[in-house]
Symmetry: C2
Subunit: 247 residues, 2 copies
């Protein structure tokens, strides 16, 4: 069988109630090869030695530590910290939410470090980037390394079409959050893949068509205190679809 | 969307370390609508009141209690007990392993009660029914109600083709155990769907083509002490495939 073209990974916010070691073990158990850490698993103020230890633990489990986020950047100090953190931990992408006025500094750091910044849309109520279009408006004149982490759940929660956004912003699509939600409205909640309203076959076909090179990071927000069964169901559902779609 | 034609359920041996209530709760959590009990969840010597209480618990969770097994029948008393148990609990099928000399009695009870008997193949080393062909040899001249529970994992473990057996014995196929295994040999072990060697798209296409009316009962034997994540992955994988194949 050919290697699939799409890469399934995990946004570790899913396992926010698990400690670092259990998070790595669960990721390995589910056969996921790509991990993006949220700060409870790799704190933003970790020193270089701590970051290297964490990175090595992930690699030792046969997993690629490719990114981190969502990282909020509300000051120059936080921008500088985020890039130092990412460079030290060997990340290729920061999934971030920079304040608008900090974007010139973010652009400069991205060029200096060659680390991509994938700005994350957060749906209704997010004052900075509620829609992928808000991100586009802010990054279109910046260096190519500043782009998108399209969270398809939040696209649907703001009643927009994830397929359209994935296609439209494919040139700067550096990460994405794979998610199902039960309602195309602000109160829509994360559910197991296939139980909500997102058309996963269409999402995967689109990602294959645009030759998406990044990670599809599963972010399953339900069952925070016992996330593994729901996450496993999402992994199985994605793998079942990809078995037929991605060959 | 049309109702799918195939029905996904659970063989409760998967959850053999969980008690009855936790087994029902886990089945409901995974969205499975059909349950077949193994004896640790519904003991074979339960009295009528106990059986009715257990049945009601399952129904109250929105689940159909359709069968039980694997039930070994090594004496006339065990045959009589199995049919009394199934009739009292309102089951439509007994997944069973009757001794060969008891088949005339099994046939008589099946005709009296109109409860189907699905004889289970157990792969290499099983002296009674190692291959589906062994079952055929014994049931071909019996009443139509005595037929097969084809366990595709054990078919593969004996190095036979599950697609061929499902097609060949479709007229008496009353239950099946859905399973993936990592090796086409006696030492092959149960693994999460999609991680082993069984061609699930081919299995589902075959079941759709033969218009299979029974339950596809997931039997996941790995991780006995912590089966839920692996079982959930199996459920997701099956649902992902069925999303594309069964419309």
């Amino acid at each position: 069988m050919l290697e699939p073209t799409l890469k399934l990974g995990l946004a570790s916010y899913t396992l926010r109630t698990l400690n670092l070691d259990d998070t790595i073990a669960a990721t390995a158990r589910l056969g996921l090869k790509y991990l993006g850490f949220k700060s409870m698993h790799m704190p933003l103020d970790s020193d270089a030695s701590q970051l290297k230890t964490i990175r090595q633990k992930v690699l030792d489990a046969g997993i690629d530590l490719y990114g981190a986020g969502v990282v909020y950047m509300r000051s120059e100090a936080e921008v500088n910290q985020a890039f130092h953190y990412a460079a030290t931990a060997g990340l290729s992408v920061i999934i971030g939410v920079p304040n608008h006025e900090l974007l010139p500094l973010v652009e400069r750091r991205a060029k200096e470090t060659n680390i991509k910044v994938a700005i994350h849309n957060h749906g209704p109520g997010d004052k900075l980037y509620s829609s992928a279009d808000d991100i586009h408006e802010k990054v279109k004149n910046l260096d190519q390394r500043v782009g998108f982490c399209i969270d398809i759940g939040h696209v649907v929660r703001i009643n927009e079409d994830p397929i359209e956004k994935l296609k439209k912003y494919q040139d700067r699509l550096y990460d994405m959050h794979l998610k199902d939600v039960d309602l195309a409205a602000a109160e829509g909640k994360s559910v197991e893949f296939g139980r909500g309203i997102i058309d996963f076959p269409a999402v995967f076909k689109t990602l294959i068509a645009i030759k998406y090179q990044g990670i599809m990071a599963i972010e399953f927000e339900k069952d925070g205190d016992d996330p593994l069964p729901g996450l496993a169901e999402c992994v199985g559902y994605a793998n079942g679809l990809l078995r037929l779609l991605d060959k």
